[in-house]
Symmetry: C2
Subunit: 252 residues, 2 copies
């Protein structure tokens, strides 16, 4: 008797971009349209609704990443093609890493096919709305100390500040985490001028999008929350016809 | 007599992603399909050929960015809708900043509409192919000292190395610039172990794509050129079932 060839399930780790469907990649859209099951944080599931109508959906609330990831892996192990979605890029503070870690821990890696589908990171979409603040070297740092000790974050911020790289800040503040952005600002002011150009982008690509250009000294006057990214300019960052610009060294 | 309303030309600064059409955003594809004129480095024009058939194209060779940018601006000032393309994200070592600088210098900013169209940065596409190396804080640094003094680059690398951020390296080596990657490696080895995990991605999303996972000590044994990006892991980066992974602090 011939054994039927078993086709492995595929786990796609999909970055859906910042939120606006036009910023999704063709590959992300195709994966969502063609998969069997979509798994994600309920807010992100809402963002991709037009592409997944009629599909099986597994969604849950904030900070239940491990649960969602385990459910997605289990479905792929049953032979399903599963899209586990993250906002922005699945590889930047998203679900790609957790999925690999869990697959390894559960010794299930060779049971399924895994594909990471890169998306436009939120900070790059924010930069596009602000102008061109990331034209020179930059650091990307999350202020959330839920998964990284605060001392480590401070050390990174301190080095980044001294290096004169542009600094992109994710997760600057949440309802229960209000101190970090104040401490970060105070630390940055030790190395950068008060009038350093700062871009604040909230809800990029989503309802209520707002983009503000201000200064390092003045930035705390604006609304900053979990859906905000900040871009702290380097010493050469300027306002250029209303846009935030970090020039490269072109001789014009 | 009623004066006809003059419609302003639009200059789109379009990131086309790493090269594979599936990694382009829906917005980038739509802009290319609908614009009047496409301007870009000839190699990138080839990459988007299917979307621009029959359109007017202005292309030129490498390092003629200022010329291309000026031609794109001039066309937009004549009322045309112009797509000036960059690979990856137009806002990361791309054309967005130069366009804003030139518009400001020529005092033409209010003559046209400008829109930056973010794309998947090459390094994020590389990360997806390698696994999930950018799940924690990272720095993006170009080794090209054509536009940034080498001392500034070394200072940034040194701080990034000490901060234990993952380090993404653009433009590691060209035909005429071979010393920088050796110096960078020597410097990084002062702060990171020889067996630090390093990902090397060449021609991501293009013909001849290759992806290698090696170590900081061994990385110079592999082919590294202008179409290569390197991702230097932090102290926690590991190999996880054949993939490069920088874990976040989830308790599993």
């Amino acid at each position: 008797m011939t054994k039927l060839q078993q086709t492995k399930g595929i786990l796609f780790l999909v970055g859906i971009g910042p939120g606006d469907h036009r910023d999704m990649t063709a590959r992300a859209i195709a994966v969502l349209r063609n998969c069997d099951i979509v798994v994600g944080y309920s807010r992100y599931i809402d963002l991709v609704q037009p592409f997944i109508e009629g599909k099986e959906v597994i969604s849950s609330g904030m900070s239940r990443e491990i649960e969602r990831c385990s459910l997605a892996i289990a479905a792929a192990c049953r032979g399903k093609n599963v899209a586990l979605i993250s906002s922005g890029d699945a590889g930047v503070y998203g679900m790609a890493g957790l999925a690999l870690q869990l697959l390894s821990k559960k010794k299930l890696r060779d049971k399924i096919v895994v594909e990471v589908v890169a998306g436009v990171p939120v900070v790059n979409a924010a930069a596009a709305r602000l102008g061109a603040p990331l034209m020179n070297d930059y650091a990307v740092i999350s202020l959330s100390d839920l998964l990284t000790p605060w001392e480590v974050i401070v050390k990174r911020l301190t080095h980044a500040a001294q290096s004169d790289m542009v600094i992109c800040i994710y997760n600057p503040r949440s309802a229960g985490r209000r101190r970090q952005i104040r401490e970060a600002q105070a630390m940055l002011l030790q190395y950068r001028e008060k009038n350093t150009v700062v871009g604040i982008a909230r809800n990029v690509g989503r309802e209520g999008e707002s983009v503000t250009i201000t200064t390092l000294g003045g930035m705390l006057r604006y609304k900053i929350d979990m859906l905000t990214v900040l871009i702290i300019g380097n010493s050469t960052t300027t306002l250029c016809a209303g846009a935030m610009l970090t020039p490269r060294g072109y001789k014009l």
